[in-house]
Symmetry: D2
Subunit: 362 residues, 4 copies
């Protein structure tokens, strides 16, 4: 339970940090979509460890194998299973974790829930789990692009208190990928990189905010009440490791406005389309897309595992201290960008199919 | 689709603002729970309109009828259907809405999605839909209390820029209910009430933040990966009308800390329990409750319907203006409190049952 | 749990035999479908008690009220809630059932599962629960008819050992409704009626077989593996009260053939369509409709409640005897016909929407 | 969609006959269950091809690899992914199938649904898909055994018109496995083997009936209404390839009895337990287990692929003939036994967990 996401376009992930591998089964994919392992690998490479000097040095090529569901380069409509083997596993780094709970990590809660835990690299709570999401997200993105020209793009908006000015309407993938911190504002990006290096050198870590925009989303996606688009987006990204907050459109700062300031007034654009003059709604009204850009923000806490010594307890209930030894990111933000994009793409793709299923039949 | 919430403790709501009524079907409720219509009515009265001078004057007693699933005062384990009839409906207030889309409301998006819309009072997008959630939440609360002594309590933390200092560890229901704005800090509450009255008098509206705490939550609730507790909580509250943001624990402000500051160090308390010295995690680590208080915050935008005139368009694609005539809350926060509590209780109850189903069998 | 059926076209039923009423919430219905309470009532009248001398004399008009989801005669795409109040309830008939378990009924198992039971009229296990299914089935039938011209028609094929020769390709609703036993073979129908009257007069009961055909089903409905069309059809009808068996196409008798006899050879018809010369597959191959008529058969056991005295036990664990007093059908078959049709229509409608959602997007 | 089964104990299968492999992801497994690849392999060996002279000669060791969810011999509570690589694939055997639809197979319907098809060995419609089910079933069986001492045992009851007398109350696994046709009545087994060999030699095929019994099932499993135990069992087994019918207890023949004959009268046994004198209900009343043996029967049609020449059509719409060349079972019954057992175990395990989740919390 809890390892499946989506209703019509539905993914199930599996795998621990160490062991046979991690992966995903994608069920409900439309047939006849052209897809290659290379396209999936492109996104996996954006999330893989060891990609730059500011990420964890764990070396994982994270090469994916498509086990099923694709035939002669096209999807069959049957489940697409994708497997990534675990390679550079140094379980000796985790020897101490057999007995000591890492603060603000999932060690203690897994033990409380299951009474058993794979202590190697965090087991199922490792960010390696997100490989399956990112692989599935690559396919979702392609569907969104082909069916409706939808583009999903994330970037680092803030690290600690370094916030970048970025125009969500015009930012491009090239700009995002132009630097290792994935902040399309180059000046700010340099400062961010320096900040991350400094934290890493101190054995400490940083958090921040990823912003993600979905452009060219057709009107009408999303289901009222519980499966509002913003509700499913919130669930999607809040299920990523290390997330502490979610906003859409005006978010928390919108609560400081009066209704007369906050409302998005309607007008008719040159093409005769109903549009809104502002986009405080973030592209969603009443849980349904209104054709404007969908804009969300996600708060990521500073990485829990740090080299600095901290107070903790053992599984036997003794107080002790711990200094992290594994290879970890001093800041998860750069690698979180493709994860956030994947979750947004998965939600939109699911709702696109649901919209066809319910509202384009009669 | 999209009108069902929960996996083992599962609710389905129905109904529009005008018409036969609104309600809920609760499936999966444990049998032999003592429950009365009065207990449900207590929560419905906290959300009903017309309860004070700062809420909408729409007069709805919102009296609930239990149609099924309860026999001689106890739950049967079969679906509990609860119906609330619509009474004080003045559809003439909405005559203009037949043709004009209310800005930042769901009128235009419902039309885009379905090609049809019940324009009376917002139809399904009306906050009346939350009656079913609050009724179900009353039952969820009782289960949580009986099985594990869990208490779920919400309150208004901020209206516009008026933020109250409140100790989430000790705040009581009596304090929350002691004033009409549901802010347990009485001094701040008075200021908030004045602010809402002022906005109402100007024909304008206000937003703010509801905070909600769940106390005495046992360790081990929540499912890793997609159904992390914070993910389901985020979905639950972000599916409420007018929400724009969600936080758990340190939330967005936690991103400003270094990892060494942010981490919740472990210690052993007098009872020999593993506890955390701080609670930046907000009671959840790796998606699973850790025994500390669960603390979340939800951003509600200023009410979209205001009396002030605004630019909008007609269903025929003509630009026009609109000044709201219906009876609406100048600030949804006071009535949002029981809604947020309901969603938190529903999520916790579902995960409590799931925990029994998976982890207490062997 | 267990009171919801379907994935995209999804129904949830509620209600006990005695109490506030029974009903259904239909989620995922396509918008803008014209539907009236009268159309739903037509099907409810086919299943209601007291409709003829060979059904239970319990008098229930079973008048339905549409609570939500329909506006000005058309579906809104939001949940359609339908309520039927319980009227002619004589709970005194059930006084004995408070203490005595009726043989082959659900009294003892409900007590074993829930530790509580509404003993009035069988509570949730009453066939009154099927009202919600039949109401929802009426809407499903209309969608099937409008989208694809699909017709779903059931009839009594056999009562005890009286088996009727009926041509599933040509039988009409008028023929089925031409007599009170719903067997379109008139000669056989008369014999069946006499047989039922005889059983009723002896205080005994009869079982039999309902056959149901779905005609003009487009190729391609059904999902391979677990949600094969025959699997969902089997689940649907086997969830009806009193069912003991399910067959599709050649069914159990097909197992007596050699493969070379059983296989449905392909040919090209005048219209150039791929067709099968025989239809032992029953319209489904590999879980997917092949364009031929879908033909299923359902075994209904003889009604469990009979006036004849039988050995049973009390809730206190004492052996005793019981002679049924409630008003029951001596043979459920005539009223089971619209129930089987409803379940078949619900399954097909769900798969029709799913097919659009997955395979008609790209 | 359609590749996931179960609600709390939930499996998702993937894979085609040819390609990277087939497998399963099991979500919701209770933690700390001891399980080994050997235990899973035992069941896989019972279903694998090439196991005897009366099954397909395709040589597949079907060796399973546990990719995740098991650590130091125990389940973690996280998803258990199991992979079986495809080995002995002779796609040249299927060259003709690129263009010719095999009668009563899924080739034509897959094309109709998806517009694309993996023609190698039937792709997803191959019985190789059931490997994932059987692997998951092995784990479900172990849980059932450990939690409640439940035993699930299937056997060949009939091949064509050769029906064996078997006592479902006392039959043992050893008796079933004592011969290659898996019929525990040895005399009948010999006749069956001779019949299958004769059919094979003629290039023809046979069908029959598998009976399956679940013993020591506690009272109270199963959920009323749609998820009745018999409904979920029916769906489970009718989702297996080649099934045409399902019965529980008295099944179709029960419809020939009068109610007074058919009802299972209650009595109190020596242990003071409520029992039934007969078991026409097949262990389930009102959708809930009553503590008696659950007994079901499943009809399997004769294998569709035969060496005899048959009329068919090409994908281009030309009439032609086809004589099967692949390596196929002349009769699927012996290998179907572990498949039926797996589906029954999966259904029972899911309902066991659900029963704990709903009814053992308060």
């Amino acid at each position: 339970m809890g390892n499946t996401f989506g209703h019509l376009f539905r993914i199930t992930t599996f795998g621990e940090s160490h062991g046979g591998g991690v992966g995903v089964v994608i069920d409900g994919c439309p047939p006849k979509l052209e897809i290659s392992a290379e396209e999936i690998q492109f996104e996996l490479d954006r999330r893989r460890p060891g990609q730059s000097k500011i990420t964890t040095p764990r070396k994982e090529a994270d090469t994916c194998e498509i086990l099923s569901g694709v035939f002669e380069g096209k999807t069959l409509g049957t489940p697409i299973a994708i497997l990534v083997r675990n390679k550079d596993t140094r379980s000796q780094d985790y020897d101490e974790m057999v007995e000591k709970y890492r603060p603000s990590h999932a060690d203690a809660t897994y033990d409380a829930k299951y009474g058993i835990r794979n202590w190697q690299g965090g087991g199922r709570s490792s960010a390696r789990e997100t490989i399956g999401r990112v692989a599935a997200g690559a396919i979702a993105k392609k569907i969104l692009q082909q069916v409706a020209g939808i583009e999903v793009l994330g970037y680092v908006k803030r690290i600690k208190d370094l916030e970048a000015v970025i125009d969500s309407k015009t930012v491009t993938l090239e700009q995002v990928e132009s630097n290792i911190v994935r902040c399309p504002n180059l000046e700010c990006a340099e400062q961010m990189i320096a900040l991350v290096e400094s934290a890493r050198d101190q054995g400490d870590s940083l958090g921040g905010v990823v912003e993600c925009v979905a452009r060219s989303v057709p009107k009408g996606l999303g289901s009222p009440v519980f499966d509002k688009l913003e509700a499913d987006l919130a669930k999607g990204v809040m299920s990523l490791p290390a997330t502490k907050g979610f906003e859409i459109g005006s978010g928390f700062s919108g609560t400081l406005m009066m209704g007369s300031e906050h409302n998005d007034e309607f007008y008719i654009d040159e093409a005769g389309e109903v549009r809104t003059a502002t986009n405080r709604s973030g592209g969603v009204q009443g849980g349904i897309s209104n054709g404007e850009d969908i804009v969300i923000r996600v708060a990521f806490k500073p990485t829990a595992t740090i080299r600095k010594e901290q107070r903790t307890v053992t599984t036997e209930g003794e107080e002790t201290t711990l200094a992290g030894k594994g290879r970890h990111d001093p800041c998860v933000l750069p690698r979180a960008v493709p994860m956030v994009e994947a979750m947004v793409a998965l939600v939109l793709c699911d709702h696109l199919l649901r919209q066809h299923g319910q509202c384009k039949v009669l």
